[in-house]
Symmetry: C2
Subunit: 343 residues, 2 copies
C-alpha cells in the first residue's frame, strides 16, 4: 500500500493560473507564449512577470493535442547496435544533433532499430505522429524504414547520400569523392605508386564515391588500376583488418593503403603490424572520417576530415525547414585532408 510518491510532486501551474495572476485572459497568455503578436506591451510584460512568479512551464501534451505537432524529433539508427558501440562518429553526430535541437527547445528521442521487430515497432511509433520528423542514420542502402517513412510523408533527413531515388529526399553528406581524391593525391605526392584501397560497402553511395575518387586520381596520374589492390569492408574494425590481410596476400608490394574509414584503418594498422610492415616507412596509411579513432591509433592516422559538427547542424536545419513546409534539399559539405603520422 504505497502512499504518495516519494517527494510528492505537486500540481504545476497552468495557463489559467498565469492569466489570473497577470490579470488577463488565457488567450493573451497563449499569444505571448507563441511569439507575442497582437499583444500590447503592457500585457506582454504583465504575462512575463506572472510566468516568472508562478514558475509556469507550458504543458507540451496539451499543446500537442491541439496543434497536432509533437515538438520533438527522433534520431533513428537502423544499424546493428554493435556499430553504434564501436563507431565514434555516431556519438559526435548524436550529440551534435541533440545540441542543435536544444537551441530550438526541441527534445530528441533516441531510436535504435537494429532488428526487424524494433524496426516495425519504431516505424509505427513514428508514423503515428509521435515525432514531427526524423534524423536518419543508415549507411545501408535501400533501407526499408526510410522508404516507409517517406511514403507516410514523415519529414526526414538522412545522414549520407541515399541510394537511388534522387531529388525527393533530404540528406547531408560530406564530399566523399573529393575527399578520396585529396587523400590519393597526397599518397601519390609521397612517391607511392602501389596504392591499395579498403573501400566501404559498395551498395552505399559513400562506399562507391570514395572508390571512384581513388580510381579517378590514379587514372589521371597514369597509374594503372590493379583490381588486386582493392577490397571492400563494412566500416568495422574487423573488416579493415581482414581486408588488409587479403591485400597483403594478393599484392605484397603494396606501399600505401587508403582505407575508407578510420575504424577500418585501425584494423588495417593491426594487420600491417602483424605482417611486420612499418607504418609509415614501408606502407603509408590514410583513413577517412577524422573520428577519435584517428588520433587514438598508433601511429596517429592521416585522414580525411568529415565536418560532423556542420553535418549535424545542417541536418537539423534541413529537417526543421521541411517540417515548416519547405521542399527536401541536399547539402554536400567539403572535406579536409588532415596529415598525421601514418603517411
Amino acid at each position: 500500500m504505497t502512499m504518495s510518491n516519494t517527494g510528492g510532486r505537486r500540481k504545476p501551474p497552468t495557463i489559467h493560473d498565469v492569466a489570473r495572476e497577470a490579470g488577463v485572459s488565457r488567450g493573451t497568455v497563449s499569444r505571448v507564449l507563441n511569439g507575442g503578436h497582437y499583444v500590447s506591451p503592457t500585457a506582454q510584460e504583465a504575462v512575463n512577470a506572472a510566468i516568472r512568479r508562478t514558475g509556469y512551464v507550458v504543458n507540451r501534451h496539451a499543446r500537442s493535442l491541439i496543434t497536432g505537432r509533437s515538438d520533438s524529433i527522433g534520431f533513428l539508427l537502423t544499424e546493428p547496435q554493435e556499430r553504434f558501440f564501436e563507431d565514434p562518429n555516431f556519438n559526435v553526430l548524436l550529440s551534435g544533433c541533440t545540441q542543435a535541437l536544444a537551441a530550438h527547445d526541441i527534445p530528441l528521442l533516441l531510436m535504435l532499430a537494429g532488428t526487424r521487430d524494433e524496426r516495425r515497432r519504431i516505424t509505427r511509433y513514428i508514423t503515428a505522429g509521435h515525432v514531427d520528423g526524423v534524423l536518419l542514420v543508415s549507411s545501408h542502402s535501400g533501407d526499408p524504414v526510410a522508404e516507409e517513412l517517406r511514403e507516410a510523408g514523415v519529414p526526414l533527413v538522412q545522414c549520407g547520400k541515399p541510394m537511388g531515388l534522387g531529388a525527393k529526399v533530404s540528406y547531408v553528406a560530406a564530399d566523399d569523392r573529393d575527399g578520396a581524391r585529396d587523400m590519393v593525391r597526397h599518397l601519390l605526392s609521397l612517391g607511392r605508386r602501389r596504392i591499395g584501397m579498403v573501400s566501404g560497402p559498395l551498395d552505399t553511395p559513400g562506399g562507391v564515391d570514395r572508390l571512384a575518387g581513388y580510381k579517378e586520381v590514379l587514372t589521371e596520374a597514369g597509374v594503372e588500376i590493379d583490381e588486386r589492390l582493392v577490397v571492400s569492408g563494412d566500416y568495422s574494425r574487423a573488416s579493415g583488418e581482414a581486408g588488409t590481410e587479403r591485400l597483403l596476400a594478393r599484392a605484397p608490394d603494396m606501399d600505401a593503403l587508403f582505407v575508407a574509414s578510420d575504424l577500418m584503418a585501425q584494423g588495417a594498422l593491426t594487420a600491417l603490424r602483424r605482417a611486420g610492415r612499418r607504418v609509415p616507412e614501408d606502407v603509408s596509411v590514410g583513413g577517412f572520417d577524422d573520428s577519435s579513432a584517428a588520433t587514438e591509433a598508433t601511429p596517429a592516422l592521416t585522414t580525411v576530415r568529415q565536418p560532423y559538427d556542420r553535418i549535424s547542424a545542417e541536418m537539423v536545419r534541413l529537417l526543421l525547414a521541411q517540417i515548416g513546409g519547405e521542399d527536401p534539399a541536399a547539402v554536400i559539405l567539403p572535406t579536409e585532408l588532415v596529415k598525421r603520422e601514418s603517411t
Copy 2:
C-alpha cells in the same frame, strides 16, 4: 505559399473510430488498451480486430494530458560533452537503456547538460513533468542537478555510487573495490611488487573505492604503500598519459600499473611506449571497465569488466519501480577480471 506538407499525412484514427468499428463504446476500447480488465472476451476480440483494421495507435499526448504521466523518460548526462564523445562506456550505457525501455514501449529522451545554461533549461524541462523519471550519468560528485531533481521529487536513478547522502537515492554500480582487489592480486601473482596506480578523481566514490581496493590488497600482501606510486586522473585519455609520465618520473622502478579506466590506460600505454618501456615485459598494465578501448589498445588490455548490459537493465528496472511508487534502492553488481595481452 507552401501548400500541403510533403506527402500529406492524413489524420490518424482515434479511439472513437475504433469504437465505432468494433461496435462498442470508447470506454471499452480504452479498457482493452489498458490491460483488458473487466472486458468480455467477445468485446476484447472485436476491439483488437478493429485496432488492426484501422491501424490505430494511441495518442500519447491525449493520454498524458489526463494521466499526468508522460510515459517517457530522460537520459541525462551532466558531463562536458567531450567525455561523451570519447568514452565508449557512455555509448554502451545509452544503448542498453534505450533497449531496456523499448521493451516497455517507453521512448528515451537524450539530454546533454554540459554547460550551466543547458543544466538550467533541462532541469526546468524535467521538473515541469515532461519525463516521468531520469537516468542520470554523472561521475561528478555533489552534482547540483541531481540535488535539484531529488528535491523536486523526480524519480531518479544514478549510474555509479553517489557521494554523500546515503539511502535516499537509487543507484546502480559495479563493485569497484572488489574489482580493484582482483586486479591488484593478479598483478601481485605475476611477481610484480612496484605497482603504480592512476586512480580516478578522488571526489567520486568510484575513484575512492578503486584506490581503496588497491591499497587494501597491497597491505594484505605485506607490500609497503608508496605514495609516489599513486596519482589521480579524470578518466580521460589525456590524464592517463600525463599521470603515467608523472609516475615514471617519480618511480622509475615501477613494474606494474593499475589504471582506473581503460581510456586512461590507453593514455598510459602511449606514455610507456614513449618512455621506451615494453608492455607487458617491463611494465604490466591493467585497466578498468572493459570498454571497447581495452580491445582496441595495443597490446590489448587486461582489465576489470563492468557489466554494462546488466547495469543499464538494472537502472531501468529500478527507475520503473520507483515511478511505480517503490522506494529508492541500490544495486551493486559484481565485476570480472579479463586477462589479455598487457599483463
